[in-house]
């Protein structure tokens, strides 16, 4: 078989490329973040600075709070919508599908400027306005995750069984459908959460302080500290996502089904 003869050269080339493109910068940044005072030796001084820096906890808390709210609102809005679309509302699917890619089309900067013009005063005065826009930005990903998941279950049969046994619609969604599409829900929730935690564009253009905007400001005082934050959040995200991928077998299978 000719195909097999290419296997190791291809793997060697791609591993080398990946090493220089991704591992080297990441490793470089990680080493840098452990530099001691005045760039000498190795120490944890940058990470210590981080913990004691003004605004570290408040901004981190704000980010976590907004991300949790965005995740919850996202599911509350999208789970019933997607269930209905797959069950009865097929004729609206192209429209919903289109609305859900729009956030990829409309540059986030433009959306932020639009938000400044369009949002009523009372919303602009509270940081909670960000929650709504985080949900919008996550829509393309949520739609995919939930839709893929819903298409792998026999939705109609489940609903008919549940309804004919006397369950209400609310009960059917919560007790029957949600458990069946757990993997899609986890995926949607995690993506929304991750996007919200890292969102910088809208937040900074609407002049709110969350963890990412605080980082940029803090970098002006202490670039080493900012690098430490960056390495920390990046490695944290990789560990978290990898753990989720490894521990939810369902999700792995689902990726393969989709492919």
């Amino acid at each position: 078989m000719k195909r097999f003869s290419l296997k190791w050269p291809l793997i060697a080339i791609s591993s080398t490329l990946a090493f220089f493109l991704f591992v080297v910068p990441l490793y470089g940044a990680a080493t840098y973040s452990f530099k001691g005072n005045g760039g000498k030796g190795h120490s944890l001084v940058n990470y210590q600075w981080l913990i004691h820096a003004d605004g570290f906890y408040p901004s981190l808390l704000t980010s976590l709070k907004l991300a949790v709210l965005a995740g919850a609102l996202n599911l509350l809005l999208m789970v019933p919508t997607m269930v209905y679309l797959n069950l009865k509302g097929q004729k609206f699917k192209p429209l919903v599908d289109f609305l859900c890619i729009l956030p990829l089309i409309i540059p986030v900067v433009s959306l932020a400027i639009g938000a400044q013009v369009a949002m009523p005063e009372f919303l602009q005065n509270t940081e909670y306005e960000l929650v709504f826009f985080f949900v919008i930005i996550a829509l393309p990903y949520t739609y995919r995750a939930l839709d893929t998941s819903l298409q792998t279950v026999a939705l109609k049969t489940l609903v008919e069984a549940s309804r004919s046994l006397g369950a209400s619609w609310t009960r059917t969604i919560i007790r029957v459908i949600v458990p069946a599409i757990r993997s899609g829900i986890t995926g949607a929730l995690f993506l929304t959460f991750a996007l919200s935690i890292g969102e910088y564009t809208i937040t900074s253009l609407l002049h709110w302080e969350t963890f990412p905007t605080w980082t940029v400001v803090a970098a002006q005082q202490n670039i080493l500290g900012a690098i430490a934050i960056s390495v920390f959040s990046f490695v944290g995200a990789i560990v978290l996502l990898t753990a989720i991928a490894l521990f939810s077998k369902k999700r792995v299978q689902q990726v393969e089904v989709e492919a």
Binding site: S14, L17, L21, V24, P25, G28, A29, T31, S33, L77, P80, T81, L85, L87, K88, G89, Q90, F92, K93, V96, L99, I101, P103, I105, I106, P107, V108, V109, S110, I113, G114, Q116, V117, A118, M119, V135, I136, Y141, Y143, Q151, L195, G198, E199, Y200, T201, S204, P212, T215, A219, I223, A226, I227, S230, V231, F234, I238, L241, T242, A245, A259
Partner: protein, 294 residues
Amino acid sequence: MEVVKAHSRVRSSGRGTGVLPLLPFFIFTGFFLIWPVIAVTLRSLHGNKNEWTLANYRPILKAGPYLHAFEVSLKLSIITAVIGSILGAFFAYVIVKYAHGKFGAVIDSISAVFANSGGVPLAFMFVAAFGTEGVVTTVLKNLGWDIYAGHFTIFSFTGVVLVYSFFQIPLMVLVFKPAIAGLRNEWEEASTNLGASQLTYWRRVAIPILTPSFIGAFFLLFAGGFSAYATARALTVGTVPLVPIIIGTLVDGNVISDQANLGDALAVGMIIVATVAMTGYIWAQKRAAKWRAS
């Protein structure tokens, strides 16, 4: 990531096709997505005294800093989309072919993190690696290659290209992987049975099938690079004139009084460019879906 796909796999069930259960969704997207876009478009068409005018668009259309910013932004997004789509497609092929099971899942999630890392952390990580004092810079210098000998700095156009590639390539892997995985073994077997060589199979079967997906992914990368804000903002602090960065500066206050709505016009200009790119993406996805329907 691939958003336009499989509109109607499940066919209709019953007649109850009322719009009522979808109202929350339509109201939400209408108010937080459509309305801001309409509002910014309307304001870009108004002058200081609230009169209708096209004056806000004039600075963009004549030679000057704003037209130049569009040129730089376009150049940046085209270059990084080319680099990202070619290298990403190569990685995607190797991953689909040789990385299975848990290892494949780990690579998936790592790509997802890298692809979505087009943010603040990325900028600072590259400063640490490739800055004047950066770790990689130092190592290369000790090996005899001073990357700062020429015009290169991490805060320059080339620097931004380098950093953007870091998220464009994994994004391509995520988007293009399903297309490669969709190449069926039967097609290769069939062409081999008919006497085709490996090369003929690629030239006559695989590449024609993959082309629409590739073009679609290219447009998606282009749009992403064109709109990206956070990384360039944190990295360059305005040394590279990109449209989103200029909009940011205008919003932050340095507005010349008679150009109050210039930022709106720039924002609408970005929407127009992005719409053209995404139309290409949607068109290509429809062509690609032909091979996936089964």
